[in-house]
């Protein structure tokens, strides 16, 4: 799940400056995060209208990151889209760019900040668990990922800053190395800790290839 957060409303108003606006939401991640589902798109519509910004229409893409599906769905809305001066996209950074591939001549405003790839722990409770590093090595760490969950991405942790199982940068963060240690101890696999884990091959990251 791509976790997003809606931008501050006042910042959005500044960005939009002048309407009219067409609003686009997303049926998947942004719906689950309550940042760009139907409910949020409609309340955004209401809030903008209160600020005297006209809304020409809205649509929920299924999902926003699917170019071919977007093309089909947006086709039915082209008349109301054309009347808009700004397109507000309530989806992740990918959704914004997929929309921009289709709507070329109108300014597009991202309505959300894209935060991370994470787990849905409970409703509205998300945890970052993966950094999309391109080469999964969780088998070495008992299915916990220190690349994503240690703020220093240490592969031979923990560092000297761990205290009572909490991370040095915040007592709100569990030290993932403390968790790995306790888990391996329970399983009688502490010998795994003795291995020096080699520097990571960051070239496996898709950063350098862009497409697959």
């Amino acid at each position: 799940m791509i976790i997003t957060k809606q931008k501050e409303f006042n910042d959005l108003i500044k960005c939009i400056a002048k309407g009219p606006v067409f609003i686009i939401g997303c049926s998947e991640c942004a719906t689950v995060c309550h940042t760009g589902g139907e409910e949020e798109v409609l309340s955004m519509k209401k809030a903008l209208e209160k600020k005297d910004i006209d809304i020409t229409g809205w649509v929920i893409l299924e999902p926003a990151c699917n170019l071919q599906k977007d093309k089909l769905l947006l086709k039915n809305h082209m008349n109301t889209i054309k009347n808009a001066k700004k397109i507000l996209v309530l989806a992740c950074g990918n959704g914004v760019q997929t929309v921009a591939e289709i709507i070329k001549d109108i300014d597009i405003i991202p309505g959300c900040d894209t935060l991370f790839l994470g787990e849905i722990k409970h409703a509205n409770d998300f945890v970052k668990t993966c950094t999309l590093c391109g080469e999964c090595i969780q088998d070495l760490f008992d299915s916990f990922c220190p690349v994503a969950r240690c703020p220093k991405s240490m592969l031979n942790g923990p560092c000297g800053g761990v205290k009572n199982g909490k991370c040095e940068i915040s007592s709100d963060i569990d030290c993932i190395w403390d968790i790995i240690y306790k888990d391996l101890k329970k399983k009688g696999q502490l010998s795994k800790f003795k291995e020096i884990n080699k520097p990571k091959d960051w070239s496996k990251s898709i950063e350098m290839r862009r497409t697959i």
């Binding site: 520097p199 990571k200 091959d201 960051w202 070239s203 496996k204 350098m208």
Partner: protein, 304 residues
Amino acid sequence: MSYRSNLEKILSENKFAITAEIGPPKGSDQNKIKDKADILKGYADAFNVTDNQTAVVRLSSWGGCFILLKMGLEPVMQITCRDRNRIALQSDVLGATANGIRNILFITGDHQSFGNHPSAKGVYDLDSIQLVQVINDMRNKGIFQNGEKIIAGKPEVFIGAATNPFSEPFDLTIDRLEKKINAGTDFIQTQSIFNLDKFNLWMDEIISRGLDRKIHILAGITPLKSIKMTERMKFHVPGVDIPDNIYERMKKTINPLNEGFDISLELINEVKKIKGVHGLHITALFWENIIPYLVKESGLLPRT
């Protein structure tokens, strides 16, 4: 008027400046730098020591610069954004200036995938324009990037940057140079020049925008040593523009060293006549001992 460095003094006095590149070794043997420096002493005003160029691990730029300082030569340290975040970048500038390095050239750097450690993680916390602005604020306003005051000594540094007159789109390369000037760059060293027509067009635009009066421009010169090197630079090195006539000359000659030398000499003699060019930056890859001959033959140094 006091100057931060000899290079700044020479450029400020409207003298034609020469900088030369010294590539540091893949190892810790300081003699590799000393030997090159001995050959080049007296044939340039300042000497660039590259910072892990093409992302290949070598003796560090500041380490090489200290060796030059001890020999009484003026270094131009290079710093790329590839390997350091803003904490290390600012700290290294303080450390370098504290030890007498006064010229520093700031570049974004070749991507790590081009080098000999392609599995490395690139940093790129800042880009070269942002970095120049950060260092300029440290120097002029006495503040760090976070806005905090520098407590004990602003870094007195003559700020350099690089630019490529041959990259695309043409207008954007000049807009970007203007951004570098506005960020605080004092001098630039250009990509090696082989295509004089294109360089002349670029300089015309520089002059029409009045940029040559805002920044010192050192034109890049690289002597071609062999057909192999010419082909590698023409076909494989991004951003290099070797026109067909130069390529043909290197291809046909039976003496590539002589031909490469002649081509460089011709380019130098043309480039030094171009209005707005304030000096040369000579990069002779693995052929540093040719630089004294080029400088003498073209009558650039010693100055009369």
